[in-house]
């Protein structure tokens, strides 16, 4: 066989493989939108569930998820950004730095349900926060740390080295240099990472199973020490635990969850592309 024919066949195989990755995505999203949009209404989004979640809306689940991810970012963003600053600006190439890197890799690899166990043991039981928004948010925060650290560090590393040299040569201290000549240029990248981590946290179910999630709680949480419903957990129970729910309710819930996740992703992408256009160095 001629080599160009071989190449054609090989490229077709590669193309078909790619299609087999992309088509399921189209199928999944298509199915959700096709069956879900009829179920979405203002009432569905803003009313309490009724009749054992068979009727009514998903308002408390949306609110619960918003509380959870907002609180988790309050913990994870400062620690994550400072950790990135340490790794990129202060750390030398030594054993400690290697250990930190290894720890980050491992935090990223720990199973989500193991995070759930950890949250249950540390926050719910040991620190006595109980099954609460606080426990869940702290669990999600630790889980999201690797995403924020990696994105922030990359963003810091992209700030040209000369910025630091100029600032230091003018007599500014190391922290002043970071604060005024490095960090401002890294903010969009850090923001992108933060939003992506929020999107991920919003969809996570296993870490909140034992730390926050209430099966059916048709009222809004009053404080961070309350249990709450959350969207992904709600989708899990209405699609596996409760019979006789209208299919369109399930699809609509899935659509809201995917919608939140995608909106945040698109947001992150817009910030990133703006940054690329604005970049002047």
């Amino acid at each position: 066989m001629r080599t160009t024919t071989k190449q054609k066949i090989a490229f077709s195989v590669l193309f078909l493989s790619t299609l087999m990755v992309i088509l399921p995505v189209v199928f999944v999203l298509g199915t959700i939108i096709k069956n879900g949009w009829q179920g979405i209404s203002w009432e569905f989004l803003t009313s309490m569930p009724r009749d054992g979640m068979r009727q009514g809306g998903i308002y408390p689940a949306i609110v619960g998820t918003v509380y959870l991810v907002s609180l988790s970012i309050v913990f994870s963003l400062p620690i994550g950004v400072m950790a990135a600053i340490y790794l990129n600006e202060y750390a030398r190439d030594n054993l400690l730095t290697r250990l930190i890197r290894l720890a980050i890799v491992n935090l990223a690899g720990v199973s989500s349900v193991v995070y759930g166990l950890f949250g249950l043991a540390l926050f719910v039981t040991f620190m006595k926060f109980g099954v609460s928004i606080l426990s869940g948010a702290l669990t999600l925060a630790i889980m999201n740390l690797p995403v924020i650290i990696t994105a922030s560090r990359e963003s810091l590393a992209n700030v040209p080295y000369q910025f630091r040299e100029v600032s230091l040569s003018l007599g500014l201290s190391r922290w002043q240099t970071i604060r005024h000549s490095v960090l401002p240029f890294a903010i969009p990248g850090i923001l992108t990472g933060a939003i992506l981590s929020l999107a991920r946290a919003a969809g996570e179910t296993a870490p909140i199973l034992f730390t926050v999630a209430a099966f059916y709680l048709p009222k809004l949480p009053a404080s961070i020490f309350d249990q709450a419903m959350a969207l992904p957990y709600h989708l899990y129970i209405i699609s596996t635990q409760i019979p006789n729910i209208a299919v369109k309710t399930r699809y609509a819930t899935a659509m809201v969850l995917v919608g939140i996740s995608f909106t945040m992703n698109i947001f992150a992408v817009i910030i990133r592309s703006r940054l690329r256009k604005k970049k002047k160095w």
Binding site: L14, M82, I100, S111, Q176, Y233, A254, V258, F262
Partner: protein, 290 residues
């Protein structure tokens, strides 16, 4: 002036603390799993735990053998990897070496979208589409099988494997490929005779991280694979994985009982498995960089 120095001193200490926080958290996770799991191992030895063939945590007498769960996890993972690895590597090559321009961007965002779909949503879609379809086409008593789990988990592992493989392929020095092309090789020959070998450590690391992701996945596999804690013999039977066992049973386990502690013991096993996979993958990734 003094105040500023003090402020900077404090800030720099905070930065250092945040820097080592990751190490602290890994230790904390392991400690707390151990703290809850250790009382289980006092009652039941590690050998009976890992080698035991029966998982009857709430019957009388209770049995805590996780062999069926380990085999369930392995089987689902194996299936997922067989599906995901070849497709992902082919896809990574297609995206980084064959397709160009707008199409490349579209494909890349398609894969990013796949990564952004929450696992519980994929589980739900599996229940309403894949499971009934499998039952009908393969004429099975139930569509909730290891294979259903494998297919969805394979899909979920793909974005990880593709993006890391793609990085590895892009990191291969251009001169390798150009050298091959200059010697008269076609683009395909340059790809499978030269580029793939140079990118191999990265591709292996990508596959390992994909495996790690699959073993640790919880929601979709719990919703799709049937949750029968018996030693499986084929992919077409219901199985129960380690992760699904924890997620499904923690709600019912009595706080402080043996069953409760046994789920933490499973957590320890999972933690150790993913830890090892990540360390090995990291070694491969770094060999690539040097």
């Amino acid at each position: 002036m003094k105040l500023r120095l003090l402020k900077e001193f404090i800030i720099e200490k905070l930065i250092f603390l945040s820097g080592i926080a990751s190490i602290l958290f890994v230790i904390l996770i392991f400690t707390f799993l151990l703290k809850e799991g250790i009382s289980f191992f006092k009652e039941i030895g590690l050998k009976d735990f890992i080698g035991g063939k029966y998982w009857y945590p709430i019957s009388e007498p209770e049995r805590f053998g996780i062999l069926p769960l380990i085999l369930g996890s392995l089987l689902v993972t194996l299936g997922a990897i067989i599906i995901a690895v070849p497709l992902s590597i082919a896809c990574a090559f297609y995206i980084s070496e064959v397709v160009q321009g707008k199409a490349k961007d579209i494909l890349k965002s398609g894969i990013e979208m796949l990564a952004a779909i929450p696992s519980v949503v994929l589980g739900f879609i599996g229940i309403v589409t894949l499971v009934p379809w499998m039952k009908k086409v393969l004429n099975l008593p139930t569509g909730l099988t290891a294979l259903s789990g494998s297919i969805m988990l394979g899909l979920m592992a793909m974005p990880t494997i593709i993006s890391i493989s793609e990085d590895a392929i892009n990191a291969v020095p251009k001169a390798y490929k150009e050298g091959a092309l200059a010697l008269g090789a076609t683009r395909w020959q340059a790809m499978y005779r030269v580029v793939i070998y140079a990118a191999l450590p990265g591709i292996i690391a990508a596959s390992m991280l994909g495996i790690g992701r699959v073993i640790g996945e919880t929601m979709a596999v719990m919703m799709l694979s049937g949750n029968a804690a018996v030693i499986p013999s084929t992919l077409l039977e219901p199985v129960r994985t380690l992760t699904a066992t924890i997620a499904a049973e923690m709600g019912e386990a009595v706080h402080g009982g043996l069953h409760y502690y046994s789920l933490f013991a499973i957590g320890i096993i999972l933690f150790v498995i993913t830890f090892m996979i990540n360390v090995i993958a990291d070694i491969f990734l770094h060999r690539n960089k040097k």
